[in-house]
């Protein structure tokens, strides 16, 4: 059996865990009712008092919290403790408008270190590990979140932060780092630069990688594991709730355990708001159970996943969610089928062995939605034989149709034809007039 950081809580029998959740939910609802005017109003509007929520079964009586609510209450409007209790602030990058702010009491930081210690232990970290943290340190929750989790374990921590890639590789080599924590795309970048430097995984001592803060595919996992010689695990979290460490994969690599003693989760239909049964994909909704400075009730993450109800062979009793397949913002409904750009990306990555540039164009012809996927023909894709290009086109179409279960049209286009803004390609163009 693999390592477990806190067996008492991580392997707690379900009935006990449920009782703990009920108690903590009651406390949290009470706290927001008395301390946060926004929540008091929202509860009163529904005719709810602090004692009307007795257990997690009452969860669906409670109102949702959205990202807009966070913006409207920027920066401290949702805080449930006076600023004298708040010992740290973090904020999201805020690519659109104001950033999302979270505050932490000393106890919140303890909880965060605890859940990150559990998460790092999943990928093999012990007090003997040398943990290289290449998440950015600063307002972003990644760096400091991983840092204090690693220190909690008692490992030797290298607070490398981002950038200076060659130097980071030299440090990992010289210091004998055994665990790497960073975004999956930075891990891939490290692997590429290692190639350029003539180094391979045998020059390093990496055993485990804890990668998160952005969605990544199974295919990318295989590549990272092969190139860096480690077990790559997905860690999930969000600034609004606490940062990384809300959920993590165990060595089974089959779904992420949500740390249910601290975070209550549901999966809902994003359109109706109704809770969905295990197996149905929908929007992940998280309720804080122990957060003091900024507890959130039914926070709509906009991340898409499903509940995996089967018990896990690792011994942890906390339920799992599937790896995040996309965001509700990116989801397209084509002829009644949910389509995520990430599904198309995964197929292209598998065929091209590199991250291709693509764009999804949706049009309505008559009553029918039509999906066209434009793929830029770059070095790896190109053959001077038309026959091979046509075969490639067919292969992409077949594999995407297998995944989506709807017909698509593939169009090979020249490089740089797909519109980019600030380095990021615009993935979806929806021309339907609905």
């Amino acid at each position: 059996m693999s390592l477990i950081w806190n067996e008492k809580y991580e392997c707690m029998p379900r009935p006990e865990l449920l009782a703990l959740q009920n108690e903590r939910l009651r406390e949290t609802v009470g706290r927001v009712f008395y301390e946060v005017p926004f929540y008091r109003r929202a509860l009163q509007e529904r005719g709810l008092g602090p004692d009307d929520v007795k257990s997690v079964d009452d969860l669906d009586k409670l109102p949702f919290t959205t990202k807009n609510d966070l913006r409207d209450n920027y920066p401290y409007g949702l805080f449930a403790t006076p600023m004298s209790e708040v010992v740290r602030l973090h904020a999201s990058s805020g690519t659109t408008g104001k950033p999302v702010v979270n505050g932490y009491t000393r106890h919140d930081l303890e909880v965060w270190a605890e859940v990150m210690a559990r998460s790092l232990t999943c990928c093999g970290a012990t007090k003997n590990s040398i943990i290289h943290i290449a998440y950015g340190y600063g307002l972003f929750t990644g760096g400091l979140g991983a840092h204090f989790g690693a220190e909690r374990i008692g490992a030797s921590v290298i607070p490398a932060s981002g950038g200076h890639t060659k130097r980071q590789i030299m440090l990992m080599k010289d210091f004998g780092s055994t665990i790497l924590a960073c975004t999956p795309s930075y891990a891939m970048h490290l692997a590429l630069v290692m190639d350029e430097m003539g180094l391979s995984k045998s020059d390093l001592k990496l055993k485990g990688g804890l990668f998160g803060a952005e969605p990544w595919s199974q295919n990318m996992r295989s590549q990272l594991e092969a190139r860096l010689g480690l077990m790559a695990l997905d860690v999930y979290g969000l600034t609004e709730i606490i940062g990384p460490g809300v959920a993590v994969e165990c060595p089974e690599q089959n779904g992420l355990h949500v740390w249910e003693d601290h975070f209550l989760f549901e999966v809902i239909d994003p359109d109706t708001g109704r809770q969905l049964p295990p197996g149905s994909f929908g929007e992940l909704v998280v309720t804080s159970l122990t957060k003091q400075a900024m507890p959130l009730i039914r926070y709509r993450t906009r991340d898409i996943t499903t509940i995996l109800p089967e018990p896990c062979s690792c011994g942890r009793t906390h339920r799992k969610i599937a790896r995040l397949v996309g965001r509700t913002d990116d989801m397209l409904v084509i002829r009644g089928v949910n389509v995520f750009p990430s599904q198309i990306e995964e197929v292209l990555l598998r065929i091209a062995h590199t991250e291709p540039q693509y764009q999804i164009i949706v049009e309505r012809r008559g009553q029918l939605d039509e999906l066209e996927i434009q793929v830029e023909v770059s070095g790896q894709f190109f053959s001077d034989e038309v026959r091979r290009l046509e075969t490639l086109e067919r292969q992409i179409r077949r594999e995407i149709e297998d995944v989506l279960n709807i017909g698509v049209r593939i169009k090979l286009v020249e490089p740089k034809t797909i519109e980019r803004s600030e380095g990021k390609a615009k993935r979806v163009i929806d021309r339907r007039q609905l």
């Binding site: 894709f381 190109f382 090979l412 034809t417």
Partner: protein, 143 residues
Amino acid sequence: MPIKQISVFLENKCGRLASVTRTIGDHDIDIRAFSIADTTDFGVLRLIVNRPDDAVQVLQEGGFTVSMTEALAVQIPDQPGGLAGVLELMQDAGVNIEYMYAFSAKIGQDALAVFRVENCKVAEGLIRAKGIRVLGGDEVYGL
């Protein structure tokens, strides 16, 4: 020696062909022979030029998807049945042709064609053995 052939991916859009030829023209690169294979949506332009390495570089800098492949430049008697005769000899030699196209320039009284075959070096030996003349890059680029 096989010669260097350049292939460029083109969408079937107005002005793309002009843009490729302008790009290499602006760098004083001369086209010796070309052909286009196309489908409804895209085409592949194949070129034999006097400075193939430079052409690849300027096209890549211009944002085109380019590749370089090998092809054989074969001398063909410019008379009725000339091409048929050469093709029959190649067939006898067991050389499979992917595609071919002609040069506009002549070698003396003979015509010149580009053949794309599976394995250029092996094919060259086989067809030379049948008495067919295959031209090297130096001769072709300088035409």
